[in-house]
């Protein structure tokens, strides 16, 4: 049976079960219809021209974990930021793991979507926000909506600055092979609220895993969001991450995406401006090798005046790795005085590595500043020679130059623990042991 058919019949079973999904019956029914009509995206669609899901969707996946797996902290410690005090929402094979988690309801709600769906006091929030900014017509997002039952739920009330970062971590174990994980996250920052989030999806075995995650984020007036995605998974793990952010006046939403490993990673990162005077920032470092594949599709929808967006994505592709960057900026007619900047710089380390990069600007206002630039190059031979004459061997020199190339993205990371972690991962990937200061 094709995966699409398997999923459609799984939906019937899922729908008949008792659970938090019951609360979303209508929305889920609409969503499965969209998926049924559209199926998985193919290369014929412009947005998927360079990204093929054919191999990924050939597999036989299950949406139901067979068993609940308990993990020892020792086994997964390395994937959890330890040197900083954090809240943690941890899932193992899609099931919430209370032992590894640290949630709260004091000052802010940092808990589970399943709980938010079933408790009456959250009903108005769910009604106001759930599935309100996610793109209903996108088939993978619809597929996620259809199977919604678990994920992170974060509600930060007006004026609250959450002092500790929140880690959202999904582990996939060998006990439930070929699992299609579809976490659904909902994050709401009320007026003047502040929040930092670190999200990670990690496979703990070399099994094939497929994650189709959807995150909806709402930043109300003057709210500040600082979000980090650490994507450093095993070479058999694939991730499709669709993140939708709706911003209100004077809010600033920042997302850093570090794509350092995985079989296929597709990031759909979308910012929608719902009022004037908004700042959206998205930055990324992609550093992959082998036959790994990373695709960044960004969208900033400028619909009101006096707003800014900043994009800075660095890509380093070694061996046969492939990258895609598609940065779409829409500036509506009303969005005068928009400042939109986009940069995508890439280094190809080997002959067989490749990148398809495309800025996509749709500007309907006449008084705007928009700039975009993409570069594809190799490491500068003169710079390598210069470093070598100072006693730095070629491999380290390549590492140092590559590090330097990505460094400005790292510099804007606000959580030291994240910065150190990424720094270390990059040094490991580059195979160099150079004591960089952070």
């Amino acid at each position: 049976m094709e995966l699409k058919e398997t999923l459609l019949s799984s939906y019937m079973a899922f729908d008949a079960q008792d659970g938090p999904q019951r609360k979303l019956q209508d929305q889920r029914a609409d969503a499965i219809e969209v998926f049924e009509q559209q199926g998985f995206p193919t290369n014929k669609e412009e947005d998927w021209k360079y990204t093929s899901l054919r191999a990924l969707t050939k597999g036989d996946y299950s949406v139901f974990p067979k068993e609940e797996v308990s993990l020892k902290l020792e086994d997964v410690k390395q994937y959890i930021l330890q040197d900083v005090d954090t809240y943690k929402i941890v899932f193992v094979d899609g099931i919430y793991n209370a032992y590894l988690s640290e949630t709260t309801h004091e000052g802010a709600d940092i808990c589970l979507l399943s709980a938010a769906l079933t408790k009456r006091k959250y009903a108005p929030i769910i009604k106001k926000y759930f599935n309100q900014i996610a793109e209903k017509e996108a088939s993978l997002t619809a597929l996620n909506t259809a199977f919604t039952n678990e994920g992170a739920f974060i509600y930060v009330p007006e004026g609250k600055q959450v002092e500790k970062p929140v880690q959202i971590i999904h582990f996939a174990t060998s006990k439930n092979p070929k699992l299609l994980l579809q976490p659904r996250n909902l994050i709401v920052l009320e007026k003047n609220a502040e929040l930092q989030v670190v999200e990670r999806h990690q496979s703990l075995s070399d099994n094939t895993t497929f994650t189709n995650v959807v995150t909806e984020i709402f930043t109300e007036q003057n709210a500040q969001l600082d979000y980090y995605k650490i994507q450093n998974d095993q070479s058999h793990a694939s991730l499709i991450d669709s993140t939708y952010i709706a911003q209100q006046k004077h809010s600033h939403a920042k997302v850093h995406t570090f794509s350092l490993g995985g079989k296929l990673i597709r990031n759909n990162l979308n910012f929608y401006h719902k009022a004037p005077e908004i700042i959206s920032t998205m930055k990324g470092i992609t550093l992959i090798e082998g036959e790994q594949f990373v695709d960044h599709h960004t969208l900033v929808h400028h619909a009101h005046p006096n707003s800014e967006s900043h994009q800075d994505y660095k890509g380093i592709y070694a061996e046969k790795a492939t990258g895609v960057f598609n940065g779409k900026i829409v500036v509506e007619k009303e969005a005068q005085k928009t400042n939109a900047f986009q940069k995508n710089n890439n280094i190809l380390m080997d002959d067989k590595a490749s990148i398809n990069t495309k800025p996509q600007l749709e500007i309907f206002a006449d008084d705007v500043k928009c700039s975009h630039g993409c570069t594809i190059g190799q490491l500068d031979e003169d710079a390598l020679f210069y470093l070598q004459t100072r006693g730095i061997p070629r491999k380290e020199a390549r590492g140092l130059l590559t590090y330097a190339f990505a460094n400005n993205v790292l510099q804007s990371v606000q959580i030291d623990s994240v910065k150190k972690r990424i720094n270390k991962l990059i040094a490991e990937k580059l195979g160099v042991n150079i004591g960089f200061d952070v």
Binding site: L387, R390, R394, A404, N407, N408
Partner: protein, 248 residues
């Protein structure tokens, strides 16, 4: 220390050096002068070990060892330093981080432990003070947005930190005003003496007032056509290079 015999070398199939002979002993200062395009920079690049340059004939010995097959970093580990005419800008790496990396990679190649942090810091401060380098300068990205003079001063700073056996200074005087020239020359002269040797490549005699050479060689069309003492440099300053070209 450096013994170059009948060196023919070039790049992209073009032979630029057409039989260079040069012998530099410990403690000596040699100046290599010559008109534009005579092969001065090629000579320094070939000695430092640029991969794109091929040695087609002859040999380069450093302390008796043939170094023609060694990579640039291996040559650096043996004590060869090249001060670039056009130092490369490297955004994202600070001067301090760069020099730390260079020193510790060199120590690693020599089987030594990393230099202790306090010792490193002390040395950096000392050498920076000698070259009148502001400490703020050390936390800037390497050569990025530096003026010509700052770049050259930074090259000599690196030399002072690495303490090479043989320093080749390629057009170090260009871009320097007279005060900076004096500071840079002072830094070079501190290295001089005893076992260290210096090869100064320059178009003009000016630098040689400050770094006084024991020998002066004139390069023309890839060959050393004339050698002499520091008086030769003065003669060149006065008469220009035309009489050399005609003689050759």
């Amino acid at each position: 220390m450096l013994s170059i015999d009948n060196l023919h070398a070039g790049c992209e199939g073009k032979t630029i050096l057409q039989g260079i002979n040069l012998d530099v002993k410990p403690g000596e200062v040699h100046a290599i002068m010559g008109p534009n395009g005579s092969g001065k920079s090629t000579l320094s690049t070939v000695i430092a070990g640029h991969e794109e340059y091929e040695v087609s004939q002859g040999s380069i010995l450093f302390n008796g060892e043939d170094i023609a097959e060694l990579s640039a970093d291996e040559r650096a580990h043996k004590g060869i330093f090249l001060s670039f005419q056009y130092p490369v800008e490297i955004p994202g790496v600070t001067v301090t981080n760069f020099i730390k990396t260079a020193i510790n990679q060199t120590r690693k190649a020599q089987g030594l432990e990393d230099m202790p942090a306090n010792e490193m810091l002390k040395k950096i401060r000392e050498k920076a003070a000698m070259l009148e380098i502001d400490s703020r300068f050390l936390s800037r990205s390497l050569n990025e947005g530096f003026s010509g003079g700052e770049k050259k001063r930074n090259e000599i700073f690196q030399m002072a930190m690495l303490e090479p056996k043989l320093a080749i200074l390629d057009e170090t005087d260009s871009g320097l005003d007279i005060d900076a020239l004096r500071i840079v020359a002072n830094g070079v002269n501190k290295l001089k003496g005893g076992e260290n040797a210096i090869v100064v490549i320059t178009h003009y005699q000016r630098l040689l007032d400050y770094i006084v050479p024991d020998f002066v060689h004139v390069l023309h069309e890839g060959r050393i056509v004339k050698s002499g003492t520091k008086d030769l440099a003065l003669e060149l300053e006065e008469k220009g290079y035309d009489w050399i070209k005609q003689g050759a």
